[in-house]
Structures are given as C-alpha cells and as structure tokens.
C-alpha cells in the first residue's frame, strides 16, 4: 500500500457508494475495497445466490437483486439503493454485457445480442444515473460527493474485430459520459468514464477463453485506479463547493 492508497482510505470512510455488477470482476473488487475502507456500500447483481454470498462475506454491505439492463428493474433498484444508504454519493456502473458469446464478427452477430449489449452497457447506466441524479445532485450540493464512474474499455476507442457489439456500446457510454459531465457542471455532479484495462475476470474469460491470466491485471489493481479517479473527482467537488461558499459569504 502506498501513500496515496492510505490517503484514499481516509477519504472513503462514511461515503455512500452504489456499485452495479457487484458480485463479479471489477464490481466485486470495488465492493470489497470500499467496504474495507469504511464506506457504506450497496451493490446490485442478477443472481440471488451470488448476492447472498457477497452479503455473507461482507457484513453490513447491502445486496440488491436486479438486472440493470431491464427497464422495469431500474427504479426498484434505485429505490432499494437509496433506502439502504439513505442517499448516494458515488455510483459505479460496472455491470457489463459482451453481447454475443463467443464473440462474433458484426455480420454474424444477432440483432438481439447488440440490443443486449446496448441495454446493459448504455441504457442501464443511463436509466440508473437518471433515476439517481436527484440524489447525486443533492450529495454534490452538500459537498459530500456526486460522482458517477462508468466502466469503459479500450474497445471503446480501438476497433477490435469481433468486439463490435461490446465496443460500440462502450464507445457510446464513454461519449454519453463526456456530454453528461459537461451538462452537469452547474450541479457539481461529475460523470467519469474509465478504461480499467484487460482484467482477469469472468467477463474477459468469456471473451477470450484461452488468454494467459498472467498477462491480465488483477481486478483489485484496477479497482485501486478506479478508486483514485473517484477520490480525485470528490476532492475537486469539495474544493469547488468550498470556493462557492467563500464567494457567497463575500
């Protein structure tokens, strides 16, 4: 653990974070990391048994069963997250879908697989962020938080054959994040998009079954980078609110 990690520890205590895809890969690493740092953590995932398992492993963490790619699930998920945490300072959209498994050339990809990738990687984060925007804006106004981190991929910027559904949906997510971030400047809500790199996760194993795990990052390493980015955005927010208060006082 280096000095900036220890610094993050202090900054995370008491923060209310909601993480999608919290039973696998980067999402699970973030749930564990933030819980260990004393944050108040809620997560959502689709499989009841795995949600229950993570809750048993990490007492105090609130697990929600739901599928963010389903329109009708999003508000019940948002309501449970707000109920569990009493508000939200940080939202991490980590749940992702590859689209076709095994990966396929676009000409061989079923439309339904593209729709599934868009539903999980673009519409899900859009709907959930929109449902929670009031809470995130309130958190920003109170000088607590107001940060959304969308997990992207280098497939969002580099055209890899076979990654069409996934890459296109992640490119859309990254661009939506950039636009939304500009639009929310006045509210103090930051929308970030980060490529955590190729990680040794169940999703990557589905995409590249014969990959050598030693060439891949551990999700815990990537989670530290993601956490740094969130903490940096939180600090900027706190600084901006402080300046705002000083200006108002004058």
């Amino acid at each position: 653990m280096n000095a900036s990690d220890r610094n993050d520890d202090r900054n995370l205590a008491g923060l209310r974070i909601f993480i999608t895809g919290g039973t696998s890969g980067l999402g699970l690493a973030l749930v564990r990391g933030w819980h260990a740092h004393g944050a108040r953590v809620a997560f959502v995932a689709r499989t009841p048994d795995r949600v229950a398992q993570v809750m048993r492993e990490l007492p105090g963490v609130a697990g929600i069963v739901g599928d963010i790619s389903r329109k009708d699930d999003v508000y019940p998920i948002a309501l449970q997250a707000l109920g569990a945490l009493g508000g939200i300072d940080v939202l991490v959209n980590s749940a992702s879908s590859l689209g076709p498994v095994p990966l396929a050339l676009l000409g061989d990809t079923e439309c339904e697989d593209v729709e599934r990738a868009l539903a999980a990687n673009l519409l899900g984060p859009f709907r959930l962020t929109k449902a929670l925007l009031g809470a995130l804006s309130a958190s920003a106004a109170d000088g607590r938080g107001g940060v959304v981190l969308n997990v992207s991929s280098d497939a969002a910027s580099t055209p890899y054959p076979g990654w069409g559904a996934y890459g296109a949906s992640k490119a859309a997510l990254a661009h939506m994040s950039a636009i939304w971030n500009l639009e929310l400047e006045g509210e103090g809500v930051r929308i970030l998009s980060i490529d955590p790199g190729d990680m040794d996760t169940p999703l990557h194993a589905l995409a590249v079954p014969d990959a050598d795990p030693s060439t891949l990052r551990q999700p815990e390493d990537a989670a530290r980078d993601v956490t740094h980015a969130i903490v940096a955005a939180l600090r900027r927010n706190a600084r901006d609110r402080h300046h705002e208060r000083e200006a108002l006082a004058r």
């Binding site: 019940p76 109920g83 809470a135």
Partner: protein, 368 residues
C-alpha cells in the same frame, strides 16, 4: 376544473396563473416561470422521492383482500421503516374512486396483514376504522425490497393508466420519503434549474415526507395533512438567510415546502437547519414568516391545499383566481396546471404591468 388524466409531468402547453402581492391576476405559459422570478430570489423545492406506498394484500384473520396505503412515518431515517401509519381500504384498487371504496374488514391490534412478500402486524387503530399503526417484519433492507418490488405509487381514479415510479419521481427526487409526489416539483427539470442559475435566481432543496392528499372519507380527510417529518440542510438555511439579507423572495415550490419552512421558522424570516416534524395547519389565519411566494398546482376549494392558499392571498383574490382557472380550462391534480401566488402586501393598489418585458411576456395576459 378538468382533471389532468395523463401522467405527463411537463406538458408543453401547461399554464400558470399568477396572483401577485397586489391581487393582480396574470395568465402565463408555465415554461415562462423563470421570467416571473427576479434575480436574487430563491426557489426552494422538496427533493423527496415518492414511495410506491400502495400495497395490495390480504387481511389474514378474515382472508379479505385489502389495499394498504402507507401514509405516515415518524422520521426520514432510511433505516426507520418498520413502523408506518397507514390507511386501509377494502377490496378494489385505484380504479374505483376512493369515496366509493368499501371499508376494510374490522381491524384490531395484533391482526396480521400479508402484503405480497411483506408481512405486517396491526399495532392499533388510530381512531378511525381505516387508519392503523402497522409494523413490518424483517430487516430494513428486506422491507425496502418488499416495498420496491410489490408497492405501486398511490393513485386516483382520474388517471386511468397504472402509474410507474418514473411517473411520480421528480427530476430532483433524492430521498424516498414521500407517500404521494411533491408534485409542484414536476415543473422543474435540469434545463429550468440551469436557467434559474443563469438568471442569478438561487435554487435549494429540503426533504419533506409529503403525505396523502385525499382518502375519500370526510372524517379522515379532516385530519389531513398528517404530521410530516422534514429535514432542512445547513446549506438551504444559509441560502434563505442570504436571500433575506439581499431583499430577495423565498419561493416555495409546493405546499410541503411551505409546511417545512414555516415549521422551522426562526427569527427574522429565516429557517432553522435540521430535522423536525411539521404539525401545523396553514390557512388564512397563519402569518407566514419565511415564505414569500408559492408555486403550486391548482386546487379545488374545500381541500386542505386550497385552505393553505389563504395564507398567501385574500379570499377575494382566491375567488377571482378560482373563476379564472375554471373559465380558462386549467387542469387540476398533480399532473395539472400551476399557480404562482405571492404573499399579499395588504395594499389594494393594482399594477398594470408587474413584469419586465421580454420574449415570454408577449404570451402573458393580465386579467383586467
């Protein structure tokens, strides 16, 4: 008035009737709201998110179908969700007007209610066969899950299609504590909030557990509004104090905001930060201490919401306003048109033009 029957929060053609401090009436397109406010004013809105507070189920002792409408909580704390005050209806749902809904089977302390995945016990009745204190079983997380998956937004027969949560959450919905939507907040979207900021009109929020607006039962309706918990942040209290200091107006978006701010009123027209419970009824006898103007829906005479308007304007002004609303086809209820009412100055002077002129004013019309 015509009931607004579609759950559209911001119809393009929404209307706004303004009653200014002198009793002058003005018709305006509602989207022109920012033009009617002044630099230095402060808009305060309720950021409560609406619970799906209608729970269908069974009264276990009798096997009778019931609908429970959660209606009251003692605090806003998100882990304080075991106990609620609730109104219980007999068989049926929102499609039957509340005044025609049958009574539930006789309810007594200790009765079990099965509400989808939730189980609750009636602790006692609260002086009316429909009104009970109930207690849910299970952890707060399990209760939230049960409410989220089984509950439906409370709705009334004038909106025929079933409401979803996205129909009733305002753009600024943050804390799930309201039993019915704080619907004055439907007027606000992120674009409008940005426009206020650009015009140097401040914006702040508080949280107030907006309660049930009507039960269809005269004896119960007479008890409304119930006591409602609220929370005012330090930041919002400071914004009010600054607005006072610079001579701006505090504009409450919604009757719940009036209740919270007036319950928290301290000296010199400011509001105290912190948590509290609004217990007071606000009507023509109330001397408002914090709120200068109210943005609200259109309300039918005889309701507690309409009575609250009496704190802002004279009976004569409100009567003229009621005629204007009727004559000009304003729509009522939560998805309806709006009113902006400035607290009366007590003077009877009539102004010919209460507004600065800009693009929006060509669509505005002062009532002679």
């Amino acid at each position: 008035m015509i009931a607004a029957a579609s759950p559209i929060q911001r119809p393009r053609e929404a209307k706004l009737l303004v009653i200014d401090a002198h009793g002058t009436l003005l018709h305006a397109p509602r989207r022109c709201l920012p033009n009617l406010l002044r630099s230095g004013d402060l808009v305060v809105a309720n950021d409560a998110a609406t619970l799906p507070a209608s729970l269908a189920g069974i009264h276990v002792e009798s096997g009778a179908p019931i609908e429970v409408r959660l209606a009251q909580r003692r605090s806003l704390a998100s882990d304080d969700v075991s106990e609620f005050g609730a109104i219980v209806f007999g068989e049926g749902d929102y499609r039957t007007p509340t005044e025609r809904r049958p009574l539930p089977p006789p309810l007594a302390g200790g009765d079990m209610l099965r509400l989808g995945p939730l189980r609750a016990t009636v602790q006692r009745t609260l002086g009316h066969p429909r009104l009970v204190a109930l207690r849910f079983e299970g952890s707060s997380l399990a209760i939230w899950r049960g409410i989220a998956l089984h509950g439906r937004p409370i709705q009334y027969a004038y909106v025929p299609t079933p409401l979803a949560l996205w129909d009733v959450w305002t753009r600024i919905a943050a804390v799930p504590t309201a039993f019915e939507p704080p619907s004055a907040g439907f007027v606000l979207d992120w674009h409008l909030i940005g426009e206020l900021r650009a015009r140097r009109i401040a914006f702040a929020t508080l949280t107030h557990a907006a309660g049930i607006s009507s039960t269809g039962d005269a004896a119960l309706d007479a008890l409304l509004p119930f006591d409602e918990p609220y929370h005012i942040s330090r930041r919002t209290a400071d914004a009010i104090a600054r607005t006072r200091g610079r001579g701006g107006r505090v504009i409450a978006a919604g009757t719940t905001v009036v209740r919270a701010l007036e319950a928290a009123a301290g000296d010199h027209g400011v509001a105290r930060a912190g948590a509290g419970v609004a217990r007071q009824r606000i009507d023509a006898r109330t001397r408002l201490r914090v709120v200068d103007a109210l943005l609200t829906g259109t309300h039918e005479p005889g309701t507690s919401h309409h009575a609250l308007l009496g704190a802002f304007a004279t009976g004569e002004s409100l009567q003229s306003a009621d005629h204007e609303l009727e004559d000009h086809g304003y729509r009522t209820h939560e998805f309806g048109d709006s009113m902006l009412i400035e607290r009366g100055s007590g003077t009877r002077a009539r102004r010919t033009s209460p507004l600065t002129h800009d693009a929006c004013t060509s669509n505005m019309r002062i009532v002679a």
